[in-house]
């Protein structure tokens, strides 16, 4: 959802199309089951354990009744329709699902939503808007830090968390002097971003985009 959309003349966006599809699925399921509920959880059998959790996502508070098995990733995508956060491997290996929870980047696929009562969650939708991009979003566009774009929301959320870790002095595997404050270098950046896989291989441009923002350059 960037400036690339400006040249698009389709009547609805891909997200609206997906949402429409999801809604009709729910309606269809509800009709078959003969129930009147209209949330995705209505498809859950009655005997499956549920739990309630309140999350503050991108500044908005939501209270959700969820199957206890619901990962934070699925809560964001399937229940709050925040589909910017991507499901890649669903096993914590690819980083596409990276979001920022209480100020820290984590894999949203490897944590349950019910484990985060009251948490502040920031997703790619909360970092910037098409009209007012986050500096890292702008830098990824400028440096062509993606090809297919699927890993990009995770890369950008991860980079936000990573730069904060660096600012807080968290060392990394490649930090030479463990007791000194670590400084950003290409090696540091690559090591610290190793939890985000880009199958298109846009790594060199991703490094340039993050480096520009870290250096405080105009994005």
């Amino acid at each position: 959802m960037t400036g690339h959309d400006k040249g698009c003349h389709l009547p609805i966006t891909r997200r609206e199309l997906l949402l429409a599809g999801a809604s009709s699925t729910v309606v269809a399921t509800g009709a078959v089951a003969g129930t009147a509920a209209a949330s995705p959880s209505s498809a859950t059998p009655a005997d499956v354990p549920m739990a309630q959790v309140t999350l503050a996502v991108n500044g908005r508070t939501h209270t959700l009744a969820l199957d206890t098995r619901t990962t934070l990733l699925d809560a964001l995508r399937e229940h709050l329709q925040l589909t910017g956060t991507k499901k890649g491997c669903d096993h914590g290996q690819c980083g596409a699902c990276t979001v920022i929870v209480d100020g820290r980047r984590i894999n949203s696929c490897l944590t349950l939503a019910v484990m985060h009562p009251g948490a502040k969650v920031t997703t790619i939708e909360g970092l910037g808007t098409p009209a007012n991009l986050h500096p890292l979003q702008e830098a990824f566009i400028k440096h062509d830090g993606y090809q297919c774009g699927y890993c990009t929301p995770g890369q950008i959320c991860s980079a936000v968390g990573m730069l904060d870790e660096l600012a807080r002095g968290v060392p990394s595997h490649v930090t030479a002097d463990l007791v000194a404050k670590p400084l950003l270098s290409i090696d540091e950046l690559r090591e610290r971003m190793s939890g985000n896989i880009c199958r298109c291989g846009a790594y060199s441009n991703i490094v340039e985009a993050i480096t520009e923002v870290a250096d405080g350059g105009a994005a």
Partner: protein, 316 residues
């Protein structure tokens, strides 16, 4: 994932009692390993006791000059703690050598100790595995074994303990602190914490049902040069083929433990006595009696050479 009920515990003893009370119950802390395994239905708990609210998230000095690391201290915070970086650098280095930034932000100290093997047959529910399904057989013996153990194995299992942090804790002589379901606390030296497979590879540690790790105590700092060197198939974010944790003193004495070669962090006093004689003497003793497969015999040479690199780095 199989359906499960969920509760948040408010005290360590209450958490331990809650898990002991219900068959099929498990603790969940960071969840980075458990949820991965639950999605694959390798772990199928019917009830989860969330221990994240127990307040075991501090690193504090102990009366004898050491440090006590709370069970819920996240890997990032452990590695970044100033005292750990200064006095227990091998531990910082080991933690930073594992996983990714995102995982280290979530993964806990206790959970890291309890992480399960990454043997590909343990992960493949279509294959026999004595650890996953006791008595079903071991697919790794005679199968793909490049990543697996060369020593401490049994005819039932050749899986490795996969972690880095525990290897450093082994050279630091850490002690695991626990609370049992009856509310009584006890301590377990890390040397005795992880179990060899023998005939029961599903038993991986000394914890009793419902017993909860509350912290890890490190003795007072021992000085020396601390090195953790990990050899793996990628430069980052991969499990060890071989890793070496070492503390080397000026007089040439020291401590050495190996990761990636056995079902537990691998260390022996006999082998350490050989340190002045160099890497070959140490690994010759430490890995005596190894029974590698044709695919992982390279680990014996790799361990020796990695230790040689570590010793030359420590003495530089």
């Amino acid at each position: 994932m199989k359906p499960f009920t969920y509760e948040r515990a408010s005290t360590p003893a209450q958490a331990a009692a809650a898990v002991a009370r219900q068959a099929g119950a498990k603790f969940i802390a960071g969840g980075t390993n458990l949820l991965d395994l639950m999605k694959l239905q390798i772990e199928t708990p019917s009830h989860l006791v969330d221990v994240n609210g127990l307040g075991l998230d501090k690193i504090e000095p102990t009366a004898d000059g050491g440090l006590r690391i709370g069970a819920l201290v996240r890997n990032t915070d452990l590695a970044a703690d100033e005292r750990v970086r200064r006095d227990y650098a091998v531990l910082s280095r080991a933690v930073l050598a594992g996983a990714s930034g995102q995982l280290r932000n979530k993964a806990t100290t206790a959970g890291n100790l309890l992480q399960r093997t990454r043997c590909s047959y343990f992960y493949d529910t279509n294959q026999p595995c004595n650890k996953r399904k006791p008595g079903s057989g071991c697919s790794a013996i005679g199968g793909y074994s490049r990543q697996l153990a060369v020593i401490g194995t049994s005819p039932a299992c050749i899986a490795t303990y996969p972690g880095d942090m525990a290897v450093a804790m082994r050279v630091l002589d850490a002690t695991i602190e626990t609370v049992r379901p009856d509310g009584h606390a006890r301590t377990i030296p890390i040397a005795d914490f992880h179990k060899l497979p023998d005939g029961t590879p599903q038993v991986e540690n000394a914890l009793e049902p419902g017993e909860l790790i509350t912290g890890v105590a490190l003795p007072a700092p021992v000085g020396g040069t601390h090195v953790y060197r990990k050899v793996r198939d990628r430069a980052s974010y991969a499990f060890a083929l071989v890793s070496v944790a070492a503390i080397v003193q000026k007089d040439g004495s020291g401590r050495v433990a190996l990761g990636g070669v056995a079902p537990k962090p691998w260390r022996s006093a006999d082998a350490e006595a050989e340190l002045p004689g160099g890497a070959k003497a140490v690994t010759g003793r430490l890995l005596a009696g190894a029974q590698p497969t044709a695919e992982n015999a390279f680990k014996l040479t790799l361990a020796e050479r990695t230790l040689a690199a570590v010793l030359s780095q420590a003495r530089a």
